[in-house]
């Protein structure tokens, strides 16, 4: 048996899904967090039943990819739990009626039930049950209230014989129900609502946005550097250096095995960045350089997601984004990209048109460096002075603007206008925010660490076989002539396909000047996506658009790198 969770965006389907199945999924306070369906299982009596968390949809006539996914899956479900935002029945019941017309077994979870009291909304539950003809259970998914009753009532879901109505008839039916079962008492604006109004007004909104984003950046840096300086670095220095030194002596300081495990000694010592052995750089890069920034970035992002600030940022960014052929909501995938490009490109599904998705995905792959890459840029360039780090960021920002402006002109199709729901501000439920941080950190450890180790192994083997020298000689005219980097830097570009953080690390032993490092970092960020991003681009864009996107990346990277080399 298969149960589907369906409802409008941002009504708490994913939170309810976690409650029912124990499977933790990423939840946030904005429409479109879930863009593809997630599967889990729950016990219903003696049976294991399948539960699917379906992306939110306002109507069964799809207007974007996420809604299309929702519509296709309906026929495969045996029972639908229609999750409804109790504070906005006027709109939510429209989908409920549409679902009823599909003649599927339905039960309604009246979620955010606690908010109805705060908002002065009085709902006659029995009246609603009679009007709809299906079970209606009030729930508060974030606290778990009503979940048990909901589960007990799932078998009572019923399908009704209702003729298919026209839009007008359906809206009239909704209006009729509301009139009989709901009373709203007027009340005054709360502080958070006044703040909510201020953050979308253009002047105060822009001011708030600048403060929020600057604060976010400072906090991310602070937490990241603190974790590195006071936790991870000391751990490595104190406990791991003696082990590696011992191992190095044991392996007699040289040879194939020594170089693979410990790496090359730099002035007789193990250097965690430059040695490039599996047990030196292979552990130090992911754990002491990247992980601290993964933790700090996702903590801050999670907080922003859960408060409901991001859609307000989208409203403010709308005018700028239109110049890039996108609309404001594209700012959300873009921000996600600063963590990892993979979920960012997946989340471009919240955009309505193919054109927008192509532009957004391409711009993210080119101009939005992921947390791992940024952590390495901080680590490597930071010691040369922060103005060099700023150069990398401002170059990427200019590329983002210029390339977006060009793509807007040349990519066919149209960009619809922004039309989004702005959720109320909420205090992040700390437990779920931290749970989300843990899921993302765990995801990094499980997916990135093996890739990093694999990349370092490949690098060592290719070095040993002399393959890199052949390639380096072949590509020297471009790498040396155009980019002004030593010919060996091509190895970093190649490894960038596996992991960008490892690739930046490979620039370390080349004794580059700060300016050369800037060129190297910018080109690495833009040149080609890492393999994980490549796969997801291929899947989301299709092979032809993927090739176009890749051609844009390589061309833009070489032009920018060449220009930077010329200017600096």
């Amino acid at each position: 048996m298969r149960i589907l969770l369906m409802g409008n965006p941002n009504v708490g389907k994913s939170v309810l899904f976690s409650r029912l199945t124990g499977v933790h999924v990423i939840t946030s306070n904005y429409a479109g967090t879930t863009v593809h369906y997630t599967q889990g299982f729950m016990k219903l009596g003696e049976y294991q039943v399948e539960v699917i968390d379906v992306p939110g949809t306002y109507t069964l006539e799809p207007t974007c990819e996420a809604e299309e996914v929702a519509r296709r899956i309906i026929d495969s479900g045996d029972i639908i739990i229609n999750v409804v935002n109790a504070t906005n029945l006027e709109r939510n019941l429209y989908l409920t009626l549409q679902l009823l017309e599909k003649k599927v077994k339905l039960i309604v979870a009246l979620n955010m039930w606690d908010d109805t009291r705060h908002q002065g909304i009085n709902i006659d539950l029995d009246g609603l049950r009679k009007a709809l003809g299906v079970p209606v259970i009030p729930t508060v998914a974030t606290t778990g209230e009503g979940i048990k009753t909901l589960v007990e009532n799932i078998p009572k879901a019923v399908s009704l014989e209702i003729p298919v109505r026209s839009h007008e008839e359906r809206w009239a039916a909704v209006g009729n129900i509301i009139e009989h079962i709901q009373q709203v008492t007027h009340r005054h604006h709360t502080f958070s609502e006044r703040l909510a109004d201020a953050s979308v007004r253009s002047f105060s909104g822009a001011l708030i946005a600048i403060i929020v984003l600057t604060a976010a950046f400072i906090i991310i840096r602070f937490i990241g550097e603190t974790l590195i300086g006071y936790v991870f670095d000391p751990l490595f220095e104190k406990f791991w250096v003696p082990v590696l030194t011992g191992l190095s002596v044991l392996l007699e300081g040289n040879g194939f095995l020594h170089n693979i495990l410990v790496g090359t000694l730099i002035e007789g010592n193990v250097d965690f960045v430059q040695s490039f052995g599996l047990l030196s750089s292979g552990l130090y890069v992911p754990f002491a350089m990247v992980l601290p920034y993964i933790i700090s970035f996702y903590l801050v992002l999670g907080f922003l997601e859960d408060t409901g600030y991001l859609p307000r940022l989208a409203v403010l960014a709308d005018t700028i984004m239109h110049r890039l052929g996108l609309h404001g909501y594209a700012i959300i995938p873009t921000l996600l990209g600063f963590g990892c490009n993979v979920p960012a490109i997946l989340s471009t599904r919240i955009l309505e048109s193919k054109r927008e998705r192509f532009i957004a995905a391409t711009l993210i792959s080119i101009a939005v460096p992921c947390a791992a890459l940024q952590a390495m840029i901080f680590g490597l360039l930071g010691s040369h002075g922060w103005k060099y780090v700023a150069m990398v960021y401002s170059t990427l920002f200019v590329i983002w603007i210029v390339l977006g402006t060009i793509l807007r002109q040349i990519v066919k199709g149209f960009t619809p206008e922004l039309l989004i729901e702005i959720p109320p501000y909420r205090l992040p439920p700390w437990k779920t925010t931290l749970q989300k941080l843990w899921m993302r950190t765990y995801g990094f450890l499980m997916e990135a660490v093996p890739m990093i180790l694999g990349a370092i192994l490949v690098v060592n083997v290719l070095f040993f076989l002399g393959v890199f020298e052949v390639i380096a000689d072949f590509t020297a005219p471009v790498v040396n002539g155009v980019l002004g980097l030593p010919k060996e830097a091509v190895t970093a570009l190649i490894v960038g396909f596996l992991r960008k953080d490892v690739a930046v690390g490979m620039l370390a032993p080349l004794s580059l000047t700060a300016e050369q490092l800037v060129v190297g970092c910018v080109v690495l960020a833009m040149f080609f996506p890492c393999i994980a991003t490549f796969v997801v681009l291929l899947r989301e864009l299709g092979i032809i658009n993927m090739l176009k996107s890749a051609a844009i990346m390589i061309t833009a990277a070489l032009i920018t790198g060449g220009l930077l080399n010329f200017i600096l």
Binding site: I121, A196, V200, L316, D318, G328, P416, E417, P424
Partner: protein, 81 residues
């Protein structure tokens, strides 16, 4: 009663939508978010330089792109303005 274009409403002013001048796609996208003839909307804020207009409809805030907000007609009570 006065008919105004949504984008020309003052902040805090509300009225009933009378007409939406748009193609089927636009009308149904708006309708899905409860922005349809008959809905009571209250304008919260307007973006300058072609930014989105924010309205409240049934206690939910919706941001509407400027181009669409130009094509939504609203009947405003005279006393309200």
């Amino acid at each position: 009663m006065k008919i105004k274009i949504l984008k020309d409403l003052k902040s805090g002013e509300s009225g009933k939508i009378t007409r939406i001048d748009g193609g089927h796609g636009m009308v149904s996208r708006l309708a899905a978010l409860d922005i349809r003839p008959g809905s009571i909307v209250k304008k919260l804020s307007a973006g300058v330089m072609g930014g989105p207009v924010t309205v409240e409809v049934n206690r939910i805030q919706i941001a509407i792109g400027f181009g669409m907000a130009k094509r939504i007609l609203v009947a405003v009570e005279d006393s309200a303005s």
